[in-house]
Structure formats: C-alpha cells, structure tokens
C-alpha cells in the first residue's frame, strides 16, 4: 500500500501543474492590419483588443472600466478629462508605459492619415502633467469622452519611432502593419496575413489572467460551410459567425454550443429626403412621394417585421423602433413600440398623401453586407406590393453599394448601423444631422434628412454633463426621428457564435472576441 502511494506521488510530481491549452478560432475576415490606428473596422479593432490596450476598456456587459488608466475625472466645468495612469505596466518588449506613450499615441491616432482621427474631433489639446497624469482638453464639455476612446490603443513611442512606424501607413504598410508591441494580455508571436496569427499570453501583464490558454491561433475561413465543418470536426474551437440557417442543426449537436446575442447593428430603411423626383419610377417622374411623411409611415406600416424575423432570421433577431438597440446607452424605453403591421392603414396613408393607386420606385439593397440582406429586401418588396407600391429591387455587393448611395442613385435603401461609441448620440451625429463637412456631421446621411431641432439638439447632447438632462434631449430627438419617420428601423441583427462545448467564453454585444475570457476545459 505504501509503495502504491509512493508511486502515486511520483506520478503526481511528473504531471505538469498546468496543462497546455491550445485554442484555435476561425473568423470570416482576417484583420487586414496589426496597426491599431490604421483602420477603424471591427475585425481589426476586435482582434487587437487582445494585444493592445486603451486607457479604458469595456467589460463583459460593455461598461467602461479602468485599463491603462486607473481613474479619470472631469476637469473644472467640463473643460476636459484628467486620466491617472497605471504604474508598473510594461509593453511586450519590456519598455515601460508612461504618459509620453499616451501623448504619442494621441498624436499618432489623431493624425490626418489615421482612420481613428474622428475619435479625437472633440479634443483641443493633450497635456502631460507628470509621468502618470494626462489631461485631455475638449472644445466643449464631453460626458461620453472616456467611453468613446475605449478602442483607442496605446502604442510605445520608442518602439514605433525606432521602427519607422511613428505614423500609420495604410497605403504602403510599415513595421506596425505586421508587428505588434502592446501592453495587452496576449502578444503576437507569428503573423501570416490571410493565413494565421498566433498569440501567446504575455507573462508580465499587469492584470490577473482569467483564461487558461497557453497558445491561440486565429485562422480566417471565408466559406461558411467550411468554417462549420472545421468546428464540427474539432479542427477549430470557435467560429464567428455561424450561418443562421445552420443554427437549429448545430443546437442538436452535443459537441458544439451555439451562443446567441443581440448585436449593436440596427437594420433600417432610408429615403431620399432631398430629392425632387424619384429616379427609377415608370410613372411618378415629377414628384418624390417619399418627401411626404405619410408615405414613409405607410412604408413602415406595410412591412411585417415579425414575419421577416421569423422566416428569414429564423427567430434570431429582435425588432427595434429606434436607431440604437436596447443594449445601448441612451435607448428610449418609452418609445420602444414599432409601427404595427397594418396594410389597411398603409393604404389609407397613401391615399391621404395623394397616391391611392400607389407608385413604382427603385429599391437599392446589399447582398453581402448584412445577414440575409437580399432575402430581407425581397420580402420587403413583396410586402410593399401588397399596399400598392411597387419596388424594383436592385441588390448588389457592398463594394458597389456605397458609391451608388453617394451618387444618390436610389429611391429607397437598406442600411445597417452599429454605433461605435455604444451611445445614441452616434447615429444622430452620422445619420440624422444635416450633412455638414465642416462640423463633421451627417457623413452617412445619404438622403439628406434635415431637421433644425435635431441639428440644434445634437451639440447639446454632445456637451451635456448631467445624465438626466442629456437623456431628455435624446428622448426628444428620438421622438422627432420617429414622428418624421426619418428612417424605418426594423430589427437588430443577431450575433451567432459557434463553440466546442469544452470551451467557456463571453460574448460581447460589439462582436469583439476577447481571448482573456476564454477557458478551455
């Protein structure tokens, strides 16, 4: 017996204390660069969130929490924000993190050639107070500033300058396009664009590691069927996204779990508010019916959103009545009700507007941008035909779509919007404000919707410190946009992740995959 015990003790001594946990995951889009300031897109920022860190970061429920800054407070009466930096943080190459790196990263990220420049539009100056204190001065009080820079990642000034990467170079690439040096929980140990990216935990990370990964590999797999097969065969542990039509089948498989959530992206219809006439109508060539709010309301009442969600989205999406989903800051619960599906009401509204026999028009739509976008547009076309307005659907790849919208070649269009700041102010700024190049507002307001009160409210929302007063202004704006039916918001796109059942992870509504929340069992 004693011998047996001794044997067991010997075996226990030889068994490794921590098992090597390798994790492989597949996404449909490879991050196109490793430079956190070169491209402002979800695949890039989502991936780099594992490698680089900002002053603040978002937690599992999207709340803003301390990262490289331990605390922050407004300066004076909203002249800016003071950030107190974390001490003893090192970059992956061993360099120490100080206020100089914050200043450098601000200059780098706010440069004309950087894609992240717009985040710093409210900033007038950045002042280094001491090695661990930095002041961000803003042109006007800015209550949401700390949250709005959660994806602004800090780069080491010495490393960037030594490698000639002091500014991002999107066109020709530079050292930072392929190499990284962040402070995050993982460092990139191999990068082969379009093929694989290997991550290993950073031993000197300042925060306590929740994960148990020893090596992680990201592989892009474009073909959805291949990605699904890779997950089912166990070649990868996690895929994003899972094709909606396969969700039911995956749920029956005990080796695989489906994790569903509501994404931040709202799918809506847009209209040519400014146009004099329709562009693609066979008979209504001298007027623009969509300029009449009753016609836009008729469209809203004609569309049966629950039916679309049930059939095309297979019950995986949620209706929405506003430009942001209920998970976002500034959502207005009191205005949650969508216009009911009511074809009779739609016909009555059309008659009232002077189109008792309806009219024909051109409907532009994407076919590779949003989940099942073309199928949704076909359904909408059918529903509109039932109330007498005939849409000619023109669905095209997104690469061709934006130039068409910019050239005003549409009578109605489909649009998805995901607010980068997770705040209701974001879509108001980009979609509802009257387009103004100088003020940098309305840059995605293709239809040129314009309302003087909305334009007046926007800067007030942006600079209101008192949350109650701010919410009241957002309520008012939301009400105006609903009453005028500036857009017809329809539903929030679902997030569907597929994961092997031995993996535990956390899904965040921004579709960012955070490796440090992964546990391999």
């Amino acid at each position: 017996m004693r011998r047996l015990l001794r044997l067991a003790a010997v075996i226990a001594a030889f068994a490794p204390a921590v098992q090597a946990e390798e994790f492989t995951w597949a996404v449909n889009t490879d991050p196109q660069t490793m430079d956190p300031h070169a491209v402002n897109s979800a695949p890039v920022l989502g991936f780099l969130n594992n490698v680089y860190e900002g002053l603040v970061r978002r937690g599992k429920d999207m709340t803003v929490e301390p990262a490289l800054a331990t605390s922050w407070e407004p300066i004076g009466n909203g002249e800016g924000w003071r950030f107190t930096l974390r001490q003893g943080v090192t970059f992956h190459d061993g360099a120490e993190f100080t206020a100089q790196d914050v200043l450098f990263s601000y200059q780098r990220a706010s440069d004309e050639v950087s894609d992240t420049r717009s985040w710093f539009a409210p900033v007038s100056d950045v002042v280094v107070v001491d090695d661990y204190t930095v002041d961000f001065m803003t042109t006007a009080p800015n209550p949401i500033f700390p949250g709005s820079i959660a994806n602004w990642m800090i780069m080491d000034s010495g490393w960037a300058e030594a490698n000639n990467a002091a500014l991002p170079d999107k066109e020709n690439g530079n050292y930072a396009t392929l190499n990284t040096n962040g402070t995050g929980a993982f460092r990139v140990t191999a990068r082969e664009p379009g093929l694989r990216t290997v991550l290993e935990p950073f031993d000197s990370w300042w925060d306590e590691a929740e994960h148990n990964i020893t090596r992680a590999e990201l592989t892009p797999i474009q073909n959805p069927a291949t990605a699904l097969a890779a997950l089912l065969s166990g070649d990868v542990d996690f895929i994003n996204p899972v094709p909606i039509q396969d969700v039911a089948r995956l749920k029956e498989n005990s080796d695989v779990d489906v994790i569903q959530g509501i994404e931040a992206r709202v799918i809506m219809l847009g209209f040519p508010h400014e146009a004099e006439t329709l562009k693609y109508s066979s008979e209504t060539t001298d007027a623009n019916p969509f300029a009449d709010v009753r016609v836009r309301q008729a469209v809203a009442h004609a569309i049966n959103v629950p039916a679309i969600l049930q059939t095309i989205m297979r019950g995986n999406a949620e209706e929405v009545s506003q430009l942001v989903s209920a998970a976002m800051q500034g959502y207005v619960p009191a205005l949650a009700e969508r216009p009911a599906h009511d074809p009779d009401r739609a016909r009555a509204l059309l008659t009232e507007a002077g189109y008792p026999d309806g009219f024909s028009f051109g409907f532009k739509c994407t076919n590779n941008r949003y989940l099942n976008d073309e199928a949704v547009c076909q359904a909408i076309t059918g529903m509109l035909a039932q109330v007498g307005i005939t849409a000619t659907l023109d669905a095209m790849p997104v690469q061709n779509y934006w130039p068409e919208l910019r050239a005003d070649n549409y009578d109605m269009f489909l649009l998805g919007w995901s607010p980068g700041t997770f705040d209701a102010e974001h879509p108001i700024r980009f979609l509802a404000a009257t387009p103004n190049e100088e003020l940098r507002v309305g840059s995605w307001n293709f239809g040129g919707y314009s309302n003087a009160r909305v334009d007046e409210l926007l800067p007030m929302i942006q600079s209101e410190i008192d949350p109650v007063a701010r919410q009241a202004m957002i309520d008012e704006t939301t009400k105006i946009l609903q009453d005028e039916m500036a857009y017809v918001p329809m539903y929030v796109q679902p997030l569907v992740w597929g994961v092997r059942s031995n993996i535990e992870l956390t899904q965040r509504p921004d579709d960012f995959f955070i490796l440090r929340w992964v546990t391999v069992n």
Partner: protein
C-alpha cells in the same frame, strides 16, 4: 521559322496587353475600394484624399499605363488590403497553389489513364460500366459541392482528414512546402481530389474512346494474330498510339488546373493565389487583382505559344504553308 516564332510572340504580347486593358476597364464595376479602406467615421474629405492618393480619380487607361510602367520593372504595386508589395504576396502564396495543382495533375493523369485503359479493355464488364457511370459525377457535379461533400464525409463524419488549410509547412529557401510533414500531406488529399476529379474524368473518357478506336485498327488485330499477349497488345501497341491526343489535352489542362484552383482553394481555405484573388475581389484590391489576372494570362498565353511552336515542329505541312510564299 524564326519569323513565325517572332510573329507568334508578337501576337502573344498583344493578347496580354488587351487582357490587361479589359481587366482595368472592368475594375470599376467590381466596386470601390475606398469604403473598405476607411472606417465608418470617415468624411467626404478623407474619401477624396485617399482616392487621389491611390490614383483612382484618374481614367482607367492612365491607371493601366501606370500599372504597366511598374510591371515591366517588376513592381506590381502595393496591396490595398494588406499594405504589402503584391509581388511579395504572390510569391508567398504561389507554392501552395503549385503544389496543389501538381498533386491533382499527377493524380488525374495516373488514375485517368489507368481507368481509361481498364474501361476500354473491359468495355462490357460490370465494373467498367460502374466506373463510367460514376465518372458522370466528376463531370457534372460542381467542384465546390464535391469539396463540401468530401469534407463532411472525411473530416466531420470520419474525422480522418483536416477540414481546411495546408497543415504544417516547412520553409525551403522561400518555398513553403507541405510535402515534408504528416499534416501537410494529409491536408493535400481532399483538395487535390476535388481539384483533379474533373480532369481525371476528362482524361479517362478521352483515353477510353481513343483506345476503343485504336483497338479496332488492323495492326492490333495483326498483333493478336501474331499471338502476342494481351498485355503487350494493350499497353505497348494500343496505349502508346492513343497518347498523342491525350498529351495535347493534358498540356492544355495544366493551365486550367491552376486557374480553376480558385474554387477548390475557397472551399478548403487553401492559402494559394486563387484564394488571394477571391479575397482581392471582395475587397476591391485592384493591384492584387491586376497582378493575378496578368499572371494567369501570361501562363495561358505562354502554354499556347509553346503548343503552337511544338505544332510547327510536329506538323511539316504547317512549315510548308508558311514558308511557301506562293
């Protein structure tokens, strides 16, 4: 003869130039790369700046001229998506495609000829008929479907082979090869079957019909009358004489294997130039698309040129026609 070759080379160069011109005139219809390169929060000013910087505001003929100017110096520009020189990316991706094409080509030729001979000799046999009807699958099913079926059978259901990718590769002086590792070889099996299946059926059916033709010839009958063994008759006499048209077709199909690898590479996430091209189309990565199209057309034009020159040697009538001058 020299004049003939010079003329053919000149024609080939002209074809290449025209292919490039057509390609560049089409790029506008693929879409606008600007929106992919700039994020959600871009302004109209950013769009104009980047467009001017990339030279996309100029007419396509000017863009084409600039591309040619760089291309003759070996500079194919920088990928919009990856921010790296296109030549570098293509060189990095080429081994994957070439190895896959090579393995599929060899498989197609070996099995194609063997099955072709078998079905010709046993033309009324049950197995031969099963193979012939089975080969219809290879001709009629689209490549991506065959690929997906193979993945589901061998990766998902049986778990024998990897479902995607190239496995571990070994770098031999800039050439990454999958031939030297177990996972690399395993990863080659399904994609090469998928890619080679069509060519295999084609070769098989060609060999079979040529073989049936030859077996009816008098000299085969005489060979049998001489009491030669079946094996000698079938392989030494019959097969040898069926190979002339077969070799011509194989030569022409070689280019097709590389060019058609696009679909197979997409299904298996095979990191070759075909997958690169598909990604480039999605992103409107004009420099990559242009370089790939030029590369493929150089290959096809080159093979055709070679075949033309070979004909010149093989067929004396061609020589007489061209040099006659009457």
């Amino acid at each position: 003869m020299l004049a003939y070759i010079i003329r053919r080379v000149g024609q080939s160069a002209l074809v290449l130039l025209i292919v490039g011109l057509v390609a560049f005139s089409m790029f506008r219809f693929v879409g606008d790369p600007i929106d992919n390169m700039l994020g959600q929060e871009r302004t109209a000013e950013d769009i104009d700046r980047l467009r001017a910087q990339l030279g996309l505001d100029q007419p396509f003929v000017v863009q084409y001229y600039k591309f040619l100017e760089g291309a003759v110096q070996g500079n194919f520009g920088v990928s919009y998506r990856q921010g790296r020189p296109v030549a570098e990316i293509l060189l990095e991706r080429a081994p994957a495609t070439l190895e896959l094409a090579m393995v599929s080509g060899v498989l197609a030729i070996l099995f194609g000829i063997a099955l072709g001979v078998f079905t010709a000799i046993r033309r009324d046999g049950v197995l031969a008929n099963v193979i012939m009807s089975g080969s219809l699958i290879g001709v009629s099913l689209p490549t991506f479907l065959i690929g997906i079926l193979l993945i589901y059978l061998f990766s998902v259901e049986l778990g024998w082979l990897p479902s995607f990718g190239r496995g571990e590769t070994v770098d031999l002086g800039g050439w990454s090869t999958g031939f030297l590792t177990e996972s690399g070889l395993k990863a080659l099996i399904l994609p090469s079957i998928t890619l080679g299946l069509y060519q295999m059926t084609l070769i098989m059916r060609l060999v079979r019909s040529e073989m049936l033709e030859v077996l009816r010839q008098d000299y085969i009958r005489f060979a049998r009358a001489r009491g030669l063994r079946d094996r000698a008759v079938n392989f030494r006499h019959a097969l040898k004489n069926t190979m002339v048209p077969v070799i011509t077709v194989i030569g022409l199909q070689l280019g097709a294997i590389i060019a058609f690898a696009i679909i197979t590479e997409t299904v298996f996430q095979w990191p070759g130039v075909g997958l690169l091209f598909i990604n480039a189309i999605q992103f409107v990565d004009i420099p990559v698309m242009a370089a790939y199209l030029m590369l493929i057309s150089v290959m096809f034009v080159g093979i055709n040129l070679l075949v033309d020159i070979l004909y010149f040697f093989i067929d004396p009538r061609l020589r007489a026609d061209r040099s006659g001058g009457h």
